[in-house]
Assembly symmetry: C2
Homo-oligomer: 654 residues x 2
């Protein structure tokens, strides 16, 4: 009976939403897809949708979109840089990115540069909707199935099914093998049902090996009817080429989305290389412009941007194109410029949660994390990748308290992006004492150059310069770092700012966000002793956890319960509390935070060198402290706590 | 390895809490009992403790307590009254109540007056820690086991194990049967291990049937050593009697808590009756006072209060007594008076949650409920009693969305406490139209007598007079009810009041509580049509659900998600959001809310009578509406919404 009632509602709901003028209406395009009470909070409908549904919704709403293609890097260093690029270009709001498949580069392996691992990183660590390319020729069914199973296990949900280039000049069809992309599409649908969204390639000029343009169109239709969800085209140089192709597709009954592949010309040589590979002909009007400036990279890139912008405008103006796919060649400037000129680059300051959400389907419900990994989100995702459940609403609800071991922290995406020489310049070629360490922390906070004239733009615990929000605390932070309170994480208190606030806002609009003041730092046992005396005065107001590398732990947290330090109240939703200070996970973080002293800093110096011994001393003897001021509507008292501590120390030494 | 670290912390935590002067300290007496991350939020340590632990903790903290004994009522009406008494006397803060076992009254049955059901009601519906008495003589092991299993199933956790009075004059020991309370204690421990806390009776003057006082003490020791956790004594008239008994117990090695049973003399006849049953002798000094005033009930009760207060003071002053057990005889005045005079009656305005928490162990984690049942908490508990899980933190997390059927709403504790004649006086002997219904609602809000001079102190949806909090909205509520917006539930918006606020506060101290403004009412379809037009202006700010008895449902709630309307932020804890507006459960509530028109109001009148037809018309044609103003920091806009609606209606009719 209950079920019947629920269904009745559903029916009535949809009825009323389709007749908005009658008064009742459902909000925006986010109508319910579940037929019973949803068991997870929906902060953002995007998080639950398949790529093809997102595409359909954007098409219906008339909201134009773009996507970005990358190829796997050759070296581990290049991989680290590419991932930073994913983060930066991800900020512009691509509907998805895709990663190409290079049969020669062991694309399905666990190497940090493989297509599989780069796509995995994009989905899980950068939170990007990702399509993994996959080619089928010269591979066994078992290999392909293995790759697909691995992709599924890693949280990849979209495959671009390609034939791939046969190895060698002569290509023979294999019986029972995969000879065409359509075979791969069929195989995916056979073996994985509807799990993957499948994309296939379209050739606006026809595939170079096809008998004819018409034959190639028929072949494309076959791929779509075998189960492909949408088409991305090969690059082209004139909008008419694409628009004609699209009409021809529609004429023979291809109705799925067809996305034009855009190649902003970025240099003479890359263009020639591409033309050779794709067997495309560059139109004379383009050759005429390019040839005379072929040695002027900047000029060619400017032209490329102009040409891409005007072609994209024509496509969008045609009314037939809803999204644009960019061949980035792993470069940032040209594509970003085109997107900005087109008005498609939408750097939305409003985050769905105050931390980057992983796009792994398993992590959909995740909406609480410990604050400790705030500056190391990839490390957090890595260390929780084996969790079966993710905390939903309450941290205390998680049944997966074991954090992954640190033994793998050398993994490339946990390493610093900066090379050793760079780090030595920032953190000191030679340390003369604990004070020179204080100096490094202080320079990182202030942004001022160190005594050798180098700016400190990262720290072992912070790969990026100071967050805008932390900037609010800059003056106080500088003062305390100078005196040996070595801060690695902090947030100000916030008493109900609009969720659209450009600095501290997150979540849907119309809401209010709140924070408790938080301060986390390393400091000497001398300061800790004084601090503990001072904290007695603040017993009911300030929660603290103080731990050293051996795990000695001093706290006043009740029952080892987590303390919510960031939360948001939104229209028509339950409370979201995305960040907590959790006493139990703090001990896992402690291991990582102390290890970073050694792995990232001490190891820059020779063994037994004085510099190395200074860092080792700090590692062995300092405490890691975190403080929460629970009284969020009042002025943050944590600075007073620190001031009182220094005052107590002064009195004692006098 | 993770586990080891956690254990290390635990060790260090306890070490530091036992050496507070070293700086580190654990908060209050709420030290952690769990050795790993707690999976449920602890708002109140009491909710997780066994009765014997609570007793120990209170003894350690030096915090004196009291408990109350009741017997099962004879009639269903008396049961309804007794339950109200539980609620009122529960407000004074008893550590537990106990319910006696009457073998002649089918005590283990499902009858609304059975010991079992009364104890069940006390635990589940009134949220009181409860001891169920159980006697064993003349019963089979199977019967006893059955009763115990049922008690466990109903959430009862404490048993007072008694022999009971043999039926008939001559009593013969049964081989293999239960002849003494000690047999019952052993049986409970054998069959239910440590599940129940067991209480046994002590006789300060020795059991009347015992060979000697010493023999009785040895027998008591046997009961304790068989597994009893504490002792409650038979009544006595002099503090020396109890204190000697206690010393004698301790002398022979009885170390468990011994709680004196206090009997405030409440009348001449009840005293005589009791003396006859218990075979106790009333001391001459008491007889001397009572005999001359035996026909003056008030005088005897005053004396009884005086005598009890002075005896209790002596007991407490002895330093040996930590709690007092009161034989209430199901009466309220004398015991309450004694407790108030002793300073033990502690009506704590601070609620752990904004609604009464059920004491059923299964419901421990429950900390979210839909707002709809705010005035009918017992009905909510009844309709969710079959749930396996209770929402913890997020309403959306509950996997038990099915609400119990309404077929049982005639159950005595869902019925109105007032008799039919009373209700007719309040709600009108004869209704002349919808306006006379508006008038009833208005009188309920204002507290003014109706046109026949009767105050309206309850409504079908509200068994009690207006809540203090609702009083804040009185003026506005009166205005709208007069015009046919028939309000049944509402709350003002609150933007961060201290959790200790006497009116809207709840939860641990040091926190802040928040609310979104809420308004729920019945109204005509004419008003609904205008309201929906007005609501368009408030689309982004106000969430609404509008439903009629047939289930036609109009809403703008996103994805049928629940909307948190009450929440609290506390030091060192996760966010608590105890009240939500949940679109799905609203449809279950709708059935109940509409049914109350008929079951409680229409059925007061003859079938086919005009009064009955008016109520039936409202039931059939009105809508149930709820409105939430999401913008809690601003002034509540719901009154403006209603004003705009009336204005629109005025314009239309002009």
């Amino acid at each position: 009976r209950e079920l019947t009632m629920v269904n009745e509602t559903q029916h009535t709901c949809s009825a009323s939403s389709s007749s908005k003028s009658d008064g009742g209406s459902s909000s925006g395009g986010e109508s319910s897809k579940d037929s019973s009470r949803c068991s997870t909070p929906v902060l953002d409908a995007d998080r639950h949708e398949r790529l093809r549904e997102k595409m359909r919704r954007r098409q219906e709403s008339g909201d134009k979109w773009f996507s970005l293609e990358f190829f796997p890097p050759r070296t581990a260093n290049a991989a680290v840089n590419l991932i930073s690029r994913f983060d930066r270009m991800g900020a512009g709001g691509p509907l998805f990115i895709d990663v190409t498949w290079h049969p020669a580069g062991d694309p399905g392996s666990d190497k940090e540069t493989s297509s599989m691992i780069i796509a995995n990183t994009a989905v899980n660590y950068c939170g990007l909707e990702t399509i993994l390319h996959m080619t089928c020729c010269n591979q066994t069914k078992d290999d392909i199935t293995g790759h697909l199973q691995k992709a599924k296990r890693l949280g990849l949900k979209n495959i671009m099914a390609l034939r791939g280039d046969p190895v060698g000049e002569e290509w023979e069809e294999e019986v029972d093998g995969f000879n065409y992309a359509v075979d791969l599409v069929k195989h995916i649908r056979n073996e994985f049902d509807d799990y993957f969204d499948i994309c296939v390639a379209g050739y606006p000029k026809g595939h170079p090996e096809a008998e004819s343009y018409e034959a190639d169109l028929r072949y494309l239709k076959e791929k779509v009817f075998a189960g492909a969800d949408f088409i991305i085209t090969q690059l082209f140089f004139r909008s008419e080429t694409f628009l004609k192709f699209m009409k021809d597709c529609q004429a023979i009954g291809i109705t799925c989305p067809i996305i034009p592949g855009i190649f902003p010309i970025q240099g003479y040589h890359s263009l020639r290389q591409l033309v050779k590979l794709s067997k495309l002909e560059v139109p004379q009007e383009i050759k005429d412009v390019i040839e005379p400036i072929k040695d002027n990279d900047a000029a060619i890139r400017n032209f490329g941007v102009e040409q891409a912008v005007s072609m994209c405008r024509e496509l969008l103006d045609s009314g037939m194109v809803h999204g644009l796919h960019f061949y980035t060649l792993n470069r940032e400037v040209a594509t970003t410029e085109v997107l900005k000129r087109l008005g498609l680059w939408t750097e939305d300051p409003r985050r769905p949660l105050p931390w980057a959400v992983s796009a792994h389907p398993k992590r959909r419900v995740e909406d609480v994390r410990p604050i400790f990994w705030a500056s190391r989100p990839k490390s957090y995702i890595y260390r929780t990748q084996e969790w079966d459940d993710f905390p939903n609403g309450r941290w205390g609800n998680s049944s997966s308290p074991a954090f992954g071991e640190l033994k793998d922290y050398y993994l490339f995406y946990l390493k610093s992006k900066s090379p050793r020489e760079e780090l030595l310049k920032m953190w000191g070629e030679e340390l003369t004492g604990e004070e020179s360490v204080f100096e490094v922390f202080t320079c990182y906070i202030t942004g001022e150059p160190n005594k050798n004239g180098h700016k400190v733009t990262c720290m072992p615990w912070n790969d990026d310069p100071l967050a805008t929000e932390t900037n609010l605390l800059k003056e106080q932070l500088e003062k305390v770092n100078r005196r040996g309170i070595l801060t690695i994480n902090s947030q100000p208190n916030i008493n109900g700012k609009p969720s659209t606030d450009p600095i501290v806002g997150w979540g849907p609009s119309g809401g209010y966000v709140f924070q408790k003041a938080y301060l986390e730092f390393f400091t000497s046992s001398e300061i800790v002793t004084a601090l503990l005396k001072v904290l007695k005065k603040y017993e009911l107001r300030v929660n603290y956890h103080i731990v050293n590398v051996k795990g000695q732990n001093i706290t006043n947290a009740p029952d080892l319960q987590p303390n919510a330090v960031t939360w948001g109240i939104f229209p028509g939703r339950e409370i979201i509390q995305p960040t907590v200070v959790d006493p139990v996970s703090f001990l896992s973080w402690k291991d990582e935070a102390f290890a970073l002293w050694i792995e990232q800093w001490a190891k820059l110096y020779e063994e037994e060198s004085p510099s190395r011994m200074i860092i080792q001393y700090i590692h062995d003897n300092y405490y890691l402290v975190n403080l929460v001021d629970n009284d969020f509507p009042l002025e943050n008292c944590l600075w007073q706590v620190v001031d009182d501590t220094f005052e107590l120390l002064n009195t004692q030494t006098q």
